[in-house]
Amino acid sequence: MTWKERRAAARREDASYENWSGGYRPYDLVKEASIAFGVILALTVVLAILFSSPDEKPTTVKSWARTDPVDFVTTATTELDGSSGTGGYGPPYNHAADGQHIGPIRLQKWFGVSHPVDTAQDFVLAPLRSIPGDPTLQNAVSTYQNASASQQSAWTTAYEKALGNASATASGAISLKSGNYGPLNVMMPRLLSFAQSGGLDGQLLTSKQFYQTDYTKPLLFIADGGLLANRADAEHLSGDQWGMMNETGSYPGQVWLWLYTFWYQIKPFTSSWAANADIAVMAVMGVLSLLFVCIPFLPVINRIPRWIPVYRLIWRQHYRTASS
């Protein structure tokens, strides 16, 4: 049989399944839907009574600065010199990097910087400038801003090195070895106390306008630190812990994301492709999703139900009736 004849035969066979010329029996569609609705509603109510739902309080900049002041100041310093996660992210936040790519396909770069974030300005300098009645602080900020790039880098590098051995005091301040940190000695402790008062949460959110629903800045800042990640790790929500599927506490999570998170657990997504893992996984899932939609057209895949006859179980009553 030629390929053309095979295709014609397949089309004829497919057409033969279009209509059913056999028997029918009475069926109450509206009653079935009503009963199903009642059952699902009752099941939902029972599950809600039995298990409720999780609601763990969010991390604020205030709680972060109070719980782990060393981590907060360290993160803030990396925002100042642009070495933080956000500082070196690339689009859509800044031009510090080109972002992820697959070969020549650089979608992250091509879509450009649509949500500009200047980490030094937005997370450190502008908040400090907003604090009134502190001429020493304002002079320190001016000193920093007027210094050369290499001088600024020398200060932040030395400060970050010292922060590696710093500790938190009982009052919530930080204690570190003295050194040549320039105006950072004044700026960073002042930023810490501003954060611990709750002022930085508000300033980051409303810096553009009063009414705000965009949490990009506070979330990027908090996510650059270690506290959010530590909380997530403790609840097995991290990427390398099948975290996409898990949920806080003992609740079931987004179980349907199993295949999305699977790729993040295996090589080469965890090794040689790690720097571009996200675009690689999105590409794989994009292809698989397309194949999923096109299953009726896929050779072999669309024949498996015929070869593995689960259908014999499903329609056994029909086959029994038909053969008798």
Binding site: F51, A234, G249, S250
Partner: protein, 63 residues
């Protein structure tokens, strides 16, 4: 409103790995709740196709 079963505690995880050392070949680390849900899903599917469906009156009658 407090739940009958409080799930706001640290979860139990089903964990196994293939290969050892600091970089095992494959790590499976899923919460027990998720594993139970998937197991129940499979069980319900098998039950749905295996359990007998009640015969209704008029079956095979009308055309």
């Amino acid at each position: 409103m407090a739940a009958v079963f409080n799930l706001n505690h640290h979860a139990t995880y089903v964990h196994f790995h293939i290969g050892g050392g600091t970089t095992p070949f494959f790590v499976f680390d899923m919460s027990l709740s998720n594993v139970i849900l998937i197991a129940v899903m499979l069980a319900v599917f098998v039950a749905a196709i295996a359990l007998p469906f009640p015969h209704t009156p008029g079956a095979g009658g009308q055309k």
